[in-house]
Symmetry: C2
Subunit: 254 residues, 2 copies
Amino acid sequence: MAKQTPRYHAIADDLRNQIDRGALAPGQKLPTEEELTTHYEVSRNTVRLALGRLTEEGLLVSAQGRGSFVRERFEPAVWNWSVLESRSRHEANHDAGDQWASQIAGNGQTPHQEVKVSIRRPPADVARQLNLDAAAALTVVRERVRYVDREPYALADSYFPEALVRDTPLMLPEDVSAPGGVLASAGLVQVRFSDEITVRMPTRDEIERLVLPASTPVAVHMRTGYDKDGQPLRVMITTLPGDRHVIRYDVSAD
Amino acid sequence: MAKQTPRYHAIADDLRNQIDRGALAPGQKLPTEEELTTHYEVSRNTVRLALGRLTEEGLLVSAQGRGSFVRERFEPAVWNWSVLESRSRHEANHDAGDQWASQIAGNGQTPHQEVKVSIRRPPADVARQLNLDAAAALTVVRERVRYVDREPYALADSYFPEALVRDTPLMLPEDVSAPGGVLASAGLVQVRFSDEITVRMPTRDEIERLVLPASTPVAVHMRTGYDKDGQPLRVMITTLPGDRHVIRYDVSAD
DNA sequence: CCAGAGAGTTTGTTGGTACAAGTCAGCCAA
DNA sequence: TTGGCTGACTTGTACCAACAAACTCTCTGG
């Protein structure tokens, strides 16, 4: 009656306990697979299954030729999403312009982003949010990769209806930094947001662009902005690696 | 110069393409490992590595004795977190009481939750939010497992400072359903929330309680409620499986 | 007609081996 | 001293074999 749990589950549990207890500290090197085989008296195959399980749980990282290590977690950045861009103008109007960049800079870190602008048909979910015909309508897309201190931090893709932003600074490929945000530079005023946050595993593409460790989930934050008439102005889709982000909202009865 | 990519990567890529193209539809059974072995002319081990990779990405599920299947994604439930409990009283004052239960019921589904109430020392992060001394202070803890149509849906644990809710209905282990929410039943009024959302892989315990498929990340939603004097009243930690939830916020300039 | 045994199928677990491919320290030669 | 190289070490990939466990289906016996 004692044999239901596979050996590699038991080994994974044992190692997980050591990690939780702190007997194996973050950053510390684990015994080699060879040593674990003799310690637990199982085959290397079984050891690798146990290690794989812990890697899936995000507790380990391994490097060919060097060993396996207890994963180090870094302090996640907290970003308050309940602040309207139009409001933040007051604090951030001096130089940086971009709300994100100025908040990072104010934190003593160096922000940096690569921007790519293109015009193309929007994906189906974006088209729906913007009340556009996915098959016919065009959107101006600003794709950004955001870095903090040279480390990739998030992907932020914005979609604007092409008709709204034609011939505005928005279409310049530069890192637009107008006071009050890119939308204000196009003469558009957002008065309301609708945010939807989903959680999923990253695609292979996202893993590479964000240099994600194994089994790091991402939050996908989709913000749709509306003007005072309720017309959608833009959709911004931000992909946030789970190991380096906290999404914050403040809600109050006014 | 052609041999960098391991075989099992190539096999995984091929199968992933078939899934993306729709050649392998959701719910459809894959060829057996034996068949894949002969098709790709590799060992069963290598096939299993490829399948494991896709399982990690959340594209497959496998069942012993039956086969491997393209994972079916179910329609996630959208929950609007920007609504204050005190406000929602107007819509939900008739019978159900609990804001969550009434919203589910209004959606034509049957809500159900198991409640467990206990008194104990809070975890460190909760103590910090409540301005309590983690070593000394006590909290009343309401742990709930929420079900929709018999399917586990979320974990929701609430922590109240023991001094605030002593001798109130809150401490009853029943599924408290007072109009305006449990806090109102204790004479407490929340006027402000602070929410923090993090994303991570589930623990083994959460996997079992929520019956999570492999490689399903969770969103952890921590809501701290304050009264009009800025004193923290409670912390609610909700664990939301990524495959069945969309977190929504509406933000507007008042 | 139905329950249950049993055979067959399929994935899960565990053992083994061999070589490839990174990493690193130390040695040797210029 | 420095540069490069070798060799030891460690994880990654790939193969093979065998049995366990869970499921499906058929067929048989009551």
